[in-house]
Symmetry: C2
Subunit: 351 residues, 2 copies
């Protein structure tokens, strides 16, 4: 009988190999890719169940949250990160911005035929390291392959589930006039880092993406004032300006920002001036903005500043009554302007 007893003979050639259509066909090649590359990196008992879905214990809490985020960043590798860790951080952050403790992730990979296995390994290992560091395992996944020219290397869609602790009620709908707006740190690094890599721009000092998982920062804020944190959101695509407009719209309020209170790194400011970009509209991947009840602000701000990802946290403005739901800003030069939604695109494929 010619059938081999081992399920496959040669290990994957990670160094020189490339994705081919067979890796997506569900047969032996797909199994080998999953076992030697994905399972080896993520390495947990949930994945080792080997079923089409992964089982987990029913969590205790107020309610659950599910969030999904597709990641199509170009280039795949950029200063401070890559599509792999970004896809973990982005989804953990979406879950955390509902006030939830992220528990588990699911990942869907769409691979382009011809993509180097070495690059895929680097991305998957970065994802696995980010998941491990965050304590949020990737418990199930799926891999598809499309023909060369029908994709762009790797797209990763990551879904997260989490549980909201009892007593926590965080939503973009909850901002009220009088609430204080807090920002966890400097804005603009992620977008500028990706753009500089894409355009091969060389800035005097390298600007690195701020990509990070914010769930422990959120947990510290909620512990400081469980009912006082009303809104949390990470200003990714469209930047701080668009995120604040979304919240203003959802809550039916206006906002008034103080431009000189919004922290921006000098090198980001310089790069934006050079490129004609406004840092307010640039994507961040490791920052959050919060609307807090006035009586909770001191406690929340102290908790943020005690956390490594909130050391530069600042009050940047307040929620005001406004039937037009405008976000306005007192500028450095003493004027006041409307900070509108991003319209069209400023930076495509930034996350």
């Amino acid at each position: 009988m010619s059938i081999v007893k081992k399920d496959y003979i040669r290990p994957l050639d990670i160094k020189n190999g490339r994705i081919d259509m067979g890796h997506g066909a569900g047969g032996r090649a797909a199994m080998q890719l999953i076992e030697e590359l994905f399972l080896a990196a993520f390495d947990n008992d949930y994945l080792r169940q080997g079923d089409d879905g992964a089982a987990f214990a029913i969590p205790q809490g107020e309610r659950m949250v599910m969030a999904v985020d597709g990641h199509v960043v170009s280039p795949l590798f950029f200063p401070g990160g890559d599509v792999g860790c970004l896809s973990v951080h982005g989804t953990i952050n979406d879950v955390a911005m509902s006030g939830a403790r992220p528990l588990y992730l699911a990942a869907s990979f769409i691979l382009e035929e011809g993509f180097p296995l070495a690059d895929l390994k680097r991305i998957v290992e970065s994802m696995a390291a980010a998941a491990r560091e965050a304590g949020v395992p990737v418990i199930t996944g799926d891999t598809k392959v499309v023909e060369q020219g029908k994709g762009d290397g790797v797209f990763i869609s990551t879904t997260g589930v989490g549980v909201v602790p009892v007593g926590v009620d965080v939503s973009g709908r909850n901002a009220r006039p009088g609430d204080v707006l807090l920002l966890s740190g400097t804005i603009g690094e992620h977008g500028v880092a990706v753009l500089s890599q894409r355009e091969s721009l060389e800035f005097e000092t390298t600007i690195r993406s701020d990509t990070a998982a914010l769930h422990t920062l959120v947990a510290a804020m909620l512990q400081a004032a469980p009912g006082g944190v009303r809104v949390l959101r990470d200003p990714t695509r469209g930047g701080l300006a668009t995120t604040l407009n979304e919240i203003a719209r959802q809550s039916g309020v206006g906002m008034l920002l103080q431009e000189d209170a919004i922290p921006v790194l000098p090198q980001v400011d310089a790069a934006c001036e050079l490129l004609g970009l406004d840092p307010l509209y640039i994507a961040n991947e490791g920052k959050l903005v919060a609307a807090c009840a006035p009586e909770a602000v001191e406690a929340v701000l102290a908790a943020m500043r005690a956390h490594p990802l909130g050391a530069q946290a600042a009050r940047i403005g307040s929620v005001v009554e406004d039937p037009h739901r405008f976000v306005q800003m007192d500028t450095r030069f003493g004027g006041r302007r409307v900070v509108d939604w991003l319209s069209g695109e400023q930076l495509p494929r930034i996350c």
Copy 2:
């Protein structure tokens, strides 16, 4: 002041419009696409929460299950379905194959610049109809846009969560020698339908995809014999042959099939002969295979046959002891052959 009070002025031009990069930038155009196309179709209170994640009540049961599936089928529309309903059915089925009752879906869309809005609307409405019919709402989503030539119309990754009822333990690891293998119906329709559309083949009778949500069939089987259903799996990519090999490997058993017991539509048989394909390796999207304890078989088979999606259910073989974990088959001609894993690709981008 030049700012308009409405958030956008003109409605989307669904009839003639196309996806542009701005629809993925997170600003006003993205919001408009989400509200006028996605929210309008899916229309549920979870999505209307408007946050980055959707909240839901903590379910009661034995444990939870999460499953994810990417959908890159080409062409996007095929006889009997399209990528939209397929992406709902596929993920519901992955959740159901763990014995779970599917509860909620999350959807990630990766759109190619230039894709017609009319086609996107058709796909999203097909998804929404499938979700409504199944009673499993899409509660959160994400949309990204890539440049023309960096994608292929629409890719959809769908994640599902569900809850496993108390007393149910279904897994690919649970097959035991002596178990009976049941198949819910005829095989091969989905793959042949997609292939015929792709290659513009015209068969005498049109072969339609069997795409369907199998969770109510699973529920009926589990109700008939909660502890007697040991393994459930939907034979998608790689077909029945590959699925049975996966189960054999996971459970450390062999299998023996009866070729003449495996139902195949005559037109599928004819198309396969013409195309040089083996129906055992062709993807299905509305069929399941089960391993049942011998004492439960009659009850489970009766429950299957009483369900519209299991009317053609049949015993197709049994689980046997085999240290080599071979799947073998007694052929119509009186011989016995090994049914190996699919190696390489038979049909790329079938789901």
